[in-house]
Subunit: 213 residues, 2 copies
DNA sequence: CTTGCACCGTACCGAACGTTACGGTACACC
DNA sequence: GGTGTACCGTAACGTTCGGTACGGTGCAAG
């Protein structure tokens, strides 16, 4: 039942990555635009090569999603110097990166594809995107939250629940609306504003010695 | 560019609704299981009839989604007797219904379908689901929030933003995880707990005279 | 009884697309 | 020069599926 999530290093040739990049382009243009013929033409390679490298269409799709999903820039936060100010700005930066990623064209495309795939018998892509997206985000921020709690700056019972609330405050209904095709044109300014507001609210709920900021 | 959203009354024969119900069954079993032949066989009708009634596959899909999406039970809340207690329980009930709907098999199926559709050139289904789901929810709760503000029980600048935060607190990452195929098995108990927690947090952020409850 | 209508069941058509096969080319290695 | 390898481009095959056509049935109206 466990999905293969290895392939840490660049297991792909430069040429192969060009193919994956072409596939990704097609995917962004419309998930139904990715036909083997179209990929071959776009990447200037033969279909025979495609099948030799990736097995079948599903293999190409999986490789593409895995390749792209793995390079999602999950923000790093260091737990040194954990005073109230650095904790807050760390969380705020995390919120900004999270929201900025989710509203990106690539995230929307990949999540659309994975959601659609989860609605079929095949499954697989959903797991990959979930693992490299939402779950990885949790794994990254939770240590920070725990450190914050240990430093008596935050107060919560379960870090998983705390992260879920944080996620909800940051993302709100933005992701689902984007996935459903709503045009929201979120600029850097709005993302910044929302990240700050979400952080503010998160600390209002879980902060220990709130001093209005 | 505006999508047809009329068809208020039951524009469908009983027999036609049986067909739509069959289509819905197929959809739940897997979005790729809905072929015209399968629908015809499941509903014990001829493909010719299908095309006469719904035009083409897209028409059948649209009719199915519209028919089902329109019957999403959006909770009603009355704005009479607006003391702190009734406001709170109204919001809480709304949260419970919202979460209960979103985790349902039908909501997941429809949203998966609409998200997948939004990733293609066609578009259309995303608009319908968005309009009957998230946006309708907002239209229903916002008057209550406004009434709460007018009664000086709530304090916020923009009811739209307030609803978005409420949505985020209630839904968190639940919907996207379900859409991506994560098995979460949320029971009535968990839904109840989360709805209460979300309401608690919403009032902590926007309530005017919070008294711990 | 006849006619017309709405519908069922099924066979059929054409297009799209995944997949395979084959001929041709560039290049490294001997 | 000869040979093998990796690749490109394209033709071809098989299946699936949307869409159409046609014969057959039950039934209500006249």
């Amino acid at each position: 039942m466990s999905v293969a999530l290895d392939h840490r290093e660049e297991a792909f040739t430069l040429r192969q990555q060009q193919v994956l990049s072409a596939a990704l382009e097609l995917l962004v243009e419309g998930s139904d635009a990715l036909t083997m013929t179209a990929v071959a033409r776009r990447a200037s390679c033969s279909k025979e090569t495609l099948y030799k490298w990736f097995g079948d269409r599903d293999g190409l799709l999986t490789a593409t999603v895995q390749w792209q999903a793995a390079k999602v820039r999950v923000p790093h936060v260091d737990r040194h110097r954990l005073d109230a100010q650095t904790l807050r700005s760390s969380v705020e930066a995390f919120a900004r990166d999270l929201l900025g990623t989710l509203v990106g064209e690539m995230s929307v495309t990949l999540n659309r594809l994975a959601v659609a795939d989860a609605g079929m018998q095949k499954r697989g892509l959903g797991r990959i995107v979930l693992e490299n997206g939402r779950l990885e985000m949790g794994r990254r921020l939770k240590p920070v939250l725990d450190a914050g709690r240990h430093a008596r700056l935050l107060d919560f019972a379960d870090s998983e629940t705390a992260f879920q609330v944080f996620f909800g405050l940051v993302v709100r209904d933005t992701q689902i609306r984007l996935l459903l095709g709503d045009e929201m044109h979120l600029g850097a300014a709005e993302i910044d504003r929302d990240a700050i507001a979400a952080t503010q609210q998160f600390f209002a709920l879980y902060g220990r010695e709130e001093k209005s900021r």
